[in-house]
Amino acid sequence: MKLSSLYGYWRDFWFAPEGTLTIGIYRILYGILILQIALVHLNGRFSEWYGNQAVIPLPTVIKHFWYNEPRFDLFLLFPQTEPTFTIFYFVLVLSAFCLTFGLFSNFSAMLVWLLLLSMHHQDPYNINGGDAFLRAVGPFLALSHCGDHFSLDAIIDKKRGITRPERRAPWAQRLIQVQLALVYWQTFVCKVSGGQWLDGTAVYYATRLDDMLRFPLPLVSDYRPMFTMATWFTLIIEFFGFTLIFVKECKYFVVIGLIALHLGIEYMINLPVFEWAFIFALFTFVESNHVQILLNWAKSALTPKPVLHEV
């Protein structure tokens, strides 16, 4: 192998033009999760977490979490009063709607990310891994061509006679994929350094944390062969999540396996946002031409067929 061919692989991976249907759909899914956070988890409680009435006031966070060092926080640019935080909440909701519907898609994505970043810096104690993942991929979505399809931006451009290229360099979408792989890599490395994952009892314990229980699944949680297999399946599929997922011939099998893992966790364990943040990110591995085939199929299935009457 030559260095030039390595560089060729690098260029192909990041820059060989691809369709933008996938990232367009991911934008909608990401926007829905942000709306869920804003409208379900924070609605009516924003001031409990952020602002003067917060459980943990900002000076304490600055001292003990920021270590008196600078952090990005949009809230600090404005007076620390109740109206400021109310306005910020509505800006979050509005920008999430704009992102979902694809109005000023890139700007909306960037604004959503900066607001998430500010919120996570103001109160880092109420966010789970799903929130953290949305923050991690936010800038990549903002830098992608996420407004090319299924967006008001695309409709407006069409009316103005502006045509967008069908295929573009997918490096920002690839960064979302790589970010997801980094998650599986770190969690895999940490898991194999612990005894419960290797001896097959991790799922036994995970399904018995009573503050997280959702629906019981005794077939998995109460039978040793089943929870042992589920534990080892988790390790194996997470290993594939940063290795085989980048091999064209294998990636859809890995994606299906990982979706099955996340859906299983979603059924048994109550961790809102978390599982769907990863399931939606797995969608970025679906190639645009396959999305197009799916859309064509859905379109033909939904179009009423002409009925022939015998005369």
Binding site: G8, R11, W14, F15, V40, H41, L42, R45, N52, Q53, V55, I56, P57, K63, H64, W66, E69, P70, R71, F72, E82, L117, H120, Y125, N126, I127, G129, A132, R135, A136, A169, W171, L175, V178, L182, V183, W185, Q186, T187, C190, K191, S193, G194, G195, W197, Y204, A206, T207, R208, L209, D210, D211, L213, R214, P218, S221, Y223, R224, N270, P272
Partner: protein, 192 residues
């Protein structure tokens, strides 16, 4: 191979490549297991990484999963000696919708509040609870945060079904806070 489909490398592409390579190198170093080498590598960019919220940690459920179940209760004692038990939102006692909606409370009350890593925030929590249950004629005097817990039975001996998990019967006092007059100063209490 690539030049056939992509043409020559543009300046913009080269710069993007450089930034991607730099970002990924830093992120991989950040996510690596703790070691003196890792510390030396991440030290120069830690400030920048934290400022932009690029720090990450995906150690959920690893390396070990908690082997206890627990919940927290704040006990507020008032001037007349009466006590108020405030059980912080306990997921087990909520319905499916409430559990879904109150995830941020679970994260705060269960994963953060009772643990020593977060002890700097305990006085603020006590003051918050004091304001929440403030009565002008019978002011809060002190707050104790209690942790009720129980071990999850080990699977080696006998598998206890999820439906028959034991109640949280052991208790520890996590911290005790004695309120000061300044905690209930008019400008503090006047806040809505």
């Amino acid at each position: 191979m690539s030049e056939e489909t992509l043409g020559k490398t543009s300046r913009r592409e080269a710069l993007t490549s450089l930034l991607i390579a730099l970002y990924l190198s830093c992120q991989i170093a950040w996510l690596s297991l703790d070691s003196p080498l890792r510390t030396r590598i991440v030290e120069p960019f830690t400030q920048f990484w934290l400022f932009w919220g690029l720090d990450q940690n995906w150690r959920l459920f690893s390396p070990e999963i908690k082997n206890i179940n627990f919940h927290t209760v704040a006990v507020i004692t008032f001037e007349d000696g009466s006590k108020l038990n405030w059980e912080l939102p306990r997921m087990k006692r909520l319905n499916y919708w409430e559990r879904f909606r109150d995830e941020k409370y679970r994260k705060w009350c269960v994963d953060s509040l009772p643990w020593p890593d977060y002890k700097e925030f305990w006085p603020d929590f006590a003051r918050y609870a004091g304001r929440k249950y403030y009565q002008p004629n019978n002011k809060p005097v002190s707050l104790s945060l209690l942790l009720y817990w129980i071990e999850i039975p080990k699977p080696e001996a006998k598998i206890v079904p999820v439906a028959k998990l034991p109640e949280h019967t052991k208790v520890n006092t996590v911290f005790y806070y004695r309120y000061k007059a300044s905690d209930f100063a008019p400008e503090v209490i006047a806040k809505p």
